[in-house]
Amino acid sequence: MKITILDRILLLLTCLLAAWQVAVGINRADTLPLIAYTIGFGVLLVAGLLLIILGFDVLDSPAVIIISTIIPLSLSLGLVWEHLPSFRVFYLIFIIIGFLTILITRILPIRNKLPIVILTSVHGVAGVTIFLLPVILTISGLVHLSFILVGLGGALIGIGGLLLSFLRMGNPLLSHSTILKVLPGLLFLMTVCFVTGFR
């Protein structure tokens, strides 16, 4: 499917927002969350640029699954490290092992359902974390109200990541053309939510 001008504009705006977020950072963040957020928004920025340059064909690459996993993993790690100090080490280990397992099951020629199970589990935990943690923190009054938008962004990234991953694995949740039609808008909305929520 050919990429349209509107798609390119939405992706460019996504890239600019992601670049801005990388440049300004998160004021209160320690070193590890700052690195995690930089990786998350950095991958989003580069992925957006590649989509603009190469078009939707780039989604045929096997690297898409890995890349669409890095964003929620890194953002959820940043959130947990900042807001759930007692879970820091546990979650860091989960992220590292989860990512490596996805990587290995992508590289090895495994024919059973294991790669999908692992991908869905790790992706799911990260997605739920990005969605629920900001919502709970906001409702508890521990953070400012706009932080709930990070949760909304988390929901959108979870949807986007799963759509892309399942598409790439040959079990699309929606039709190929529908996914490509909504993807630029989804990425833009998600980035707006994150950037606004993190202010």
């Binding site: 440049a23 950072g25 640029l49 340059i53 780039v58």
Partner: protein, 290 residues
Amino acid sequence: MVTLAIVKSKLRLYWPLIKSLQTGLLLATGLAGYMSARCPVMHWYNFLGMGFSLFLAISGSTILNMWYDRDIDAAMNRTRHRPLANGRVSPTEALRLGLSLSALGVGMSVALSPLYGLIVFAGLFFDVVVYTMLLKRRTCWSIVWGGISGGMPILAGRAFGLGHIDGIGILLSLAVLFWIPTHILTFAMRYFDDYQAAKIPTFPSTYGFQTTRTVIATSSIIAALSIGMAGVLIGMQWGFVRLLVVLSGGLLLLAVASIFRPNERINFGLFKYASLYMLSAMILLSIGGI
């Protein structure tokens, strides 16, 4: 009215001779070099004077290149529609225009600052005489000299801002020198048949595609490291350094992908990303020190 129409038609004819995107990118490196030295203090008179003189010198050297290479352009599918190659502009007219713009550009540069003028002249000399006239048709290593001349605008800009040549300026110049292979060699692979038809030795035709891809990846790493180091030494804010690291990561990703999963799309993507990367890096260098 008639005069205006003639001027318009001439401008339309001359504009493709200066390769506006390439000239614009080189001009951006020069302006970034200047900004990296003078921020936060800006002298608009100098800034605009430098920009205009550099634009004239780069445009002039590009036209002289095109004048000298008109036989090559005519032999290549990609370039045979250029005004000189298809006869819409006569060689004498192009030569006069190229020499005039070059002389004006270098003259203005010398008037602004002798050191700046000398570097601008060196860039023009390396590009037109050493790269185009002496080496381009003989050896694929000519791109090294093309790279050196490509690194002159940023060195000139910084030297103009500081009043002397410093290590950071040379580092920035090296960054452009090592970025050039990513730009030119991906192009040489994309238009391999064209260069063969014109009998121009290129890296892909001399050393093969795989070696060329490795050279591109290696030079991308060196270019990214050089720009990053220069950024840190300039005192760029950490946020901008982070952004530079992210953009460099994209460049390296594509360069490595072109080695392990070589295909035309990745190759062209790398070519486009490299241009975007250089422009972004120059913007960051310009504003990052403020």
